[in-house]
Symmetry: C4
Subunit: 195 residues, 4 copies
């Protein structure tokens, strides 16, 4: 019960974050397609990137909580902490888009992504502590290579923006691609150990 309401609340918040981002895509003043192209090219690329990131977070969050049996106060607050950093994604997305991947906004994009990744890691640890080392989730996560690599990539992307924000953008895109590659670990573990 507690778990299903936590899922519902998180779903709601992530659904709203992913959708209100579109409000940052300001309608171009001009009605021409060329205006759209020059105005929105980068804003759109940034929108797509953040949409994919948030979809990955929802997807992982969903799988993680699927294998969770009970929720305590520490998990509730670790989850709120994650939602806090995710709630800043529309802000940094809008800033990066508006300034065409300028240095400052790109740095902040990386910082928010890094803090969200750390918050996700803390949430995962809180759940694992409640579930125990032999739990379905512990087996499913295993070494968690992707989860450990992502913050390293963000830590590279932040200083890289001082060389060129395009390098950072490329790193962000690579992280998204790594996560998009189907990760059958948890799915497989669940199938092998049906509840």
């Amino acid at each position: 019960m507690t778990k299903s309401r936590l899922e519902a609340f998180s779903d709601g918040v992530i659904a709203i974050i992913i959708t209100i981002m579109v409000l940052e895509l300001k309608v171009p003043g001009d009605a021409s397609l060329t205006a759209l192209y020059y105005d929105l090219r980068l804003k759109f690329a940034c929108y797509l990137l953040s949409f994919v990131y948030l979809a990955i977070y929802w997807n992982n969050h969903h799988h993680m909580l699927h294998s969770t049996r009970r929720v305590n106060g520490a998990i509730l607050w670790a989850n709120m902490h994650l939602l806090f950093w995710l709630s800043l994604v529309p802000f940094v997305t809008g800033w990066v888009g508006e300034t065409d991947f300028a240095r400052g906004p790109t740095v902040m994009y990386g910082v928010v992504m890094l803090l969200a990744a750390i918050a996700y890691y803390i949430l995962q640890r809180s759940i694992l502590r409640a579930e125990g080392p032999d739990s379905l989730l512990a087996r499913a996560i295993g070494r968690d290579l992707k989860g450990k690599l992502s913050p390293v990539f963000y830590l590279l992307a932040i200083p890289a923006a001082f060389v060129s924000p395009w390098i950072s953008g490329a790193i962000f895109a690579i992280v998204a691609l790594i996560w998009l590659v189907p990760d059958r670990r948890i799915e497989r573990a669940i199938e092998q150990h049906p509840q």
Copy 2:
């Protein structure tokens, strides 16, 4: 469980998309009813059209997932892909409304609708692949005439905007009407084969 959370998330996103569109209807500066009429006539028509489209998508999505028994990673991502294109509906609706059905915005409206229709088709294929050819859903969809006709109409509406955006607008309205005509196929199939 996975399915119900996917439904909840999709419901949330579609509910938000359909509702934040109203934020694009800017309050007229003047307090007179004639100002409202001249300012908002076309914006309102466009709002209504997009509202109906999104309601149809929700309705079809709902029926399709009702007949789905299990959800895998491919379905999750095909669903996200559909939500991505639908999330752009408020943007193109606002642009078309602001420019009184100018050519460029009308073309983009058609492009977003076309890509959403293709995304819906991909989602349907992913579900059918998981459910199998003899599934309730496969029987319910049958030849799927409407689903196959809609992209053709959008493909006509896009170049038609270069002749006159009004032709495109008429085509969009026709597609909406085709879908509004009650489609009892799936409902009937479900009634005949109660789960």
Copy 3:
């Protein structure tokens, strides 16, 4: 199942409508409390009125669907039709508030409320048709005095705005108060006939 997803979608849309209205309350330019008072007095009164109306709609919608056993295509679309008119509430609320209850906006507020009330009535008829005349809902609704009186009040409020928008405002407030008075009909009927 269909019913619970319809409830979830309607809850989502009404929750979003009731919440994004606050975005129409623009922060005053000045930081003084007197600026707030003169700027926002009427905007706030209008916000409160619309909040109460939407809360009443949610409440009635909730009770009505609670007594509904099955949902068909006609009910789905009658529900969408209701949500459409409700989705325009933030727009008219913002317009009335911005123009300090000017005549045109007040007329439009009444028109949207009238159309929402009619849409609610249509939805109720669609459900009653599916449930049958001896259903729990039919008994619970009974003569439905409030439901029949509200449109009459709105029909009075619309022309009254041409005399003085304050009369219309008073009528809107009276309708809200009529509904706020606890209506134990449905609750009592449910208690007497537990499912």
Copy 4:
């Protein structure tokens, strides 16, 4: 059933309130990190404070309704009353942020927080009246020290803003910290008396 829909609606509204607050964080005109720092320092602090407050409200609301067995009309409306005051949080947060904790906005922030705390108290009384004095919830709440202290703190913070808004800000932060300290009363009571 009624209870779960009330929870879903409240979750939806709180999720939207907590998320649309980010729309008040306007993207800085400049692309530099120093502009971000000077522009947004206080806005961000205020955003964080309101986020924590809303998260606490969700958390407490969730625990309170978890121990509730049935919902009546009085509870439904007491809940709407609470949601009304919470819906004004983005407005006062934006105003305080925009004016860098000016006196007037800080006073209003305190007033909204006070009224929300009173609304929460009324909701709690309504539920306790329905549940009875020997209910699980009554035992779990006990003396409710935090709930009784919070309004006192807000009552201090409001006049304190006329001396210095920083004192009020400090008081708001202290109240948030008091609530963040894990409160195991309800959790423990539930564990001892599993339903």
